[in-house]
């Protein structure tokens, strides 16, 4: 089963990774600007804004098979590092929603490993 994103097809697990990463990015942005928390405007909050944005982009590039070969492999490796790093940062920032989204994205990424391999349907 696939879903279509911007003319590119994604499996549901990859679609979930992208969607959750986008949600994580939105949450990280909210944390950075909302003055009601203890981390707004901090370097750490900005770091996870960047890391979740990269996570979303990397997930889309990888899941939609826009990149191939060694670059795809590299992106997958970086994505895994991003999950770990963002999760650690979210834990230390005590940004619990972000941590939950990061874990969910990681679980969804593991699901991509179990899903049947498919070739890109990009035209």
């Amino acid at each position: 089963m696939t879903i279509n994103a911007s003319g590119r097809s994604l499996t549901i697990p990859w679609g979930a990774v992208v969607l959750i990463s986008v949600l994580a990015f939105a949450d990280a942005l909210f944390n950075y600007f909302w003055t009601g928390n203890g981390i707004h405007g901090t370097e750490g909050a900005l770091l996870v804004v960047v890391s979740t944005l990269l996570m979303a982009v990397a997930a889309w590039l990888t899941g939609a098979h826009i990149v191939h070969g060694w670059l795809r492999t590299l992106l997958v490796a970086l994505l895994v590092l991003d999950f770990i790093g963002t999760g650690l940062a979210a834990y230390l920032l005590e940004a619990w929603i972000l941590l939950a989204l990061d874990i969910a994205a990681t679980v969804a990424w593991f699901a991509t490993l179990a899903a049947p391999r498919m070739t890109s349907t990009a035209s």
Binding site: N37, G38, E43, L47, L92, L93, E94
Partner: protein, 646 residues
């Protein structure tokens, strides 16, 4: 050197006082009979103990913000044309059925205790120029109430505000109008008495202590800039007229050409039953070199008991001999009645930057628990004459260990071994290692131990609770010629920002650095802050827990690391400890029995003032002034926040 006690004039018979001796100062009770919070430390005995009973360990988790008040008096100091950074630690007063709070811009606000709405405000129109501290600081107000008020006359109840330029403003507590009968049109300038070694104006950060019909006024200055400075003095003035009743000099006058300070910059406490005023007296100038002031100065870095009517010393106890570490006695001694061998002993406990606790008979100054005179390192720099022994209390157990806790492997690894390399170049022989030209590891250091809030006592159980920091700093004396070269062309603020202190007139300048790696991580092992509970009847530790959290770049470090703290706890009758103090801008409620955190709330900056706790119209409130302190974080705020149960 034997125990130094300056004067023991009288040894009155021990009075069997009640367990929780009460203050009888007019105004110490609210109109509904509940407890007022009428001094910086809550009560004149500095116990910081709240008798309110609504909030308990079982329901404290339900606390919510009832109201907030923002005065607008806040500055981050970033505007070169604006005021310097603010440093607001003003515990509000609840008295006269009103909540009074002062600001760093030297204004007074009278607020409705249940809503935070302004009843009146008073602006001193003080120029926002800091003459001594590098920041705009304010730690609150004082209150006096006539024991026999004259009907229809103003200023039968007075609120006092001390300012950075050394003025005391007296304001009618009901109307907010200046009490023109006080000093000069309601303003007393203590700098009129700053006539000896007047290198800088005296500043008032800490609110004067009020007892009977007098104000006892200490001051702050700059004991790091010059060797010879204004000598420490405390002024007692009439509460209504501002007339000087007496002045206490803490340095023998013949030593004025050599030194100065030994001032009382922190709050004081009062034994109302035995008519004794207790002063925490700081170190002499210059802070870190004593080769030119080798004579006995028994009141320097001491606790002194004073007759409040005459200013005569009853007794004093020096906690550091020949202080060359800036170990100021920095908080009001906390008074309590100790139960020992079936007897009630009038006692006090003095916390310190050293993390030591001195438990003394408050009528005689005699130690109740053992204090050894212990041999300490004596190899100071050329010209220095280091005291060979220092008072060393063994009970209660110090909050700061005697030995440096070691280099943190994480901080060392993150700095590629820089922490270890720095440590290897430092001189360290345990507590009281003298400052040196190579650099001395000072542990504990001037940053504490326990800072100016001091601890709190539950007088029903004689449980003492205190927060403490574990900080390692580097003390480096720099020969004068070299110092001049390093700091050529820099003004005092630039020097201070780099940790340089001139000590002009002494053969050495000084550099103070905290032992951090290049990432700003502490090079030593934590915890960096703790909260401890002691049984004062036995001196035994009940529990000690890491307290607070360090926050760096937004990241919260593990709770087991604790946080450096400034600010003090308050204990309630129901067994809840309320405390801000932590670097992470959170205020907390802690279980008195176990030390476990029961409730936290995020505020806008570190809350370095202790909260005021009171009951008004049937509801209990816990109110914090949240202002920040640059020692902890470069975060400032003007938030006054009240919490209550739903």
């Amino acid at each position: 050197m034997s125990i130094l006690r300056h004067t023991l004039i009288t040894v009155p018979a021990i009075v069997l006082a009640s367990l929780a001796f009460a203050d009888d100062q007019p105004g110490s009770t609210a109109s509904d009979g509940s407890q007022a919070w009428y001094t910086f430390a809550g009560q004149l005995n500095a116990q910081k103990y709240a008798t309110a009973e609504q909030i308990t360990p079982a329901n404290v988790g339900q606390l919510r913000s009832a109201w907030e008040f923002h005065s607008g008096d806040v500055s981050d100091g970033k505007d070169p044309k604006g005021p310097k950074a603010s440093d607001w630690g003003a515990t509000p007063l609840f008295v006269n059925d009103t909540l009074y709070v002062s600001t760093v811009f030297d204004r007074i606000f009278a607020l409705e205790p249940d809503t935070g709405k302004v009843k009146w405000s008073f602006d001193t129109h003080t120029k926002l120029v800091d003459p001594t501290q590098g920041e705009l600081k304010n730690r609150g107000l004082s209150y006096w109430q006539s024991a026999s008020p004259q009907a229809g006359q103003p200023c039968q109840k007075i609120v006092y505000l001390g300012t950075m330029d050394g003025k005391v403003f007296a304001v009618d507590a009901d109307s907010g109008q200046a009490c023109t009968g006080f000093a000069q049109n309601g303003v007393l300038d203590i700098n009129q008495w700053n006539t000896v070694n007047a290198k800088w104006p005296l500043s008032i950060l800490q609110p004067p202590t009020v007892y009977k019909n007098q104000l006892f006024i200490g001051w702050s200055g700059q004991d790091w800039t010059q060797a010879v400075q204004p000598p420490g003095s405390v002024f007692a003035v009439d509460a209504q007229s501002g007339k000087l009743n007496w002045k206490l000099d803490t340095i023998p006058p013949d030593l004025n050409p050599k030194t100065g300070t030994s001032n009382v910059w922190s709050s004081m406490s009062v034994d109302t039953q035995n008519n004794l005023l207790f002063m925490p007296i700081s170190s002499p100038s210059p802070d870190y070199y004593g080769g030119d002031r080798t004579e006995e100065m028994p009141l320097s870095t001491s606790i002194a008991a004073v007759d409040p009517d005459t200013g005569k010393i009853k007794w004093s106890y020096q906690i550091v001999h020949h202080d060359i570490w800036d170990y100021d006695t920095n908080s009001a001694p906390v008074l309590f009645d100790l139960q020992q061998n079936g007897k009630t002993v009038p006692a006090l406990i003095q916390s310190s930057k050293l993390g030591f606790f001195y438990v003394l008979n408050r009528l005689t100054g005699e130690p109740i628990f053992p204090i050894e005179e212990k041999a300490v390192p004596t190899d100071g720099v050329q010209g220095e004459q280091v005291a060979p022994k220092q008072p060393w209390p063994t009970v209660p157990e110090a909050t700061v260990p005697d030995q440096f806790p070691g280099i943190s492997w994480l901080a060392d690894a993150m700095s590629l071994g820089a922490c270890s390399r720095t440590m290897a170049g430092l001189k360290y022989e345990g507590r009281f290692t003298p400052p040196s030209t190579q650099g001395t590891l000072a542990y504990p250091a001037t940053a504490g131990g326990v800072e100016w809030g001091g601890g709190a006592v539950d007088p029903t159980t004689n449980t003492y609770v205190v927060n403490s920091s574990s900080v390692a700093q580097i003390y480096r004396l720099i020969p004068r010629d070299e110092y001049q070269k390093i700091n050529a062309g820099q003004n005092m603020e630039q020097k201070n920002a780099n940790g340089y202190f001139a000590q002009e007139g002494a053969p050495y300048g000084f550099q103070l650095q905290t032992l951090l790696n290049s990432l700003g991580m502490p090079c030593w092992n934590g915890p960096y802050g703790t909260l401890s509970s002691y049984d004062l009847n036995t001196g035994k530790l009940n529990w000690r827990e890491p307290f607070g959290q360090v926050q760096k770049w937004g990241f919260y470090m593990p709770p087991s690391w604790g946080s450096v703290t400034i600010g003090s706890p308050v204990i309630t009758k129901t067994g809840v400890i309320f405390i801000g103090a932590s670097m992470d801008s959170r205020v907390r409620a802690v279980d008195l029995k176990s030390g476990k955190v029961l409730w936290t709330s995020l505020v806008q900056a570190p809350a370095v003032a202790e909260p005021a706790i009171y009951t008004y119209k049937g509801k209990e409130y816990v109110v914090w002034a949240v202002g920040g302190n640059s020692i902890l974080e470069p975060k400032v705020a003007d938030q006054l926040v009240a919490y209550t149960l739903p």
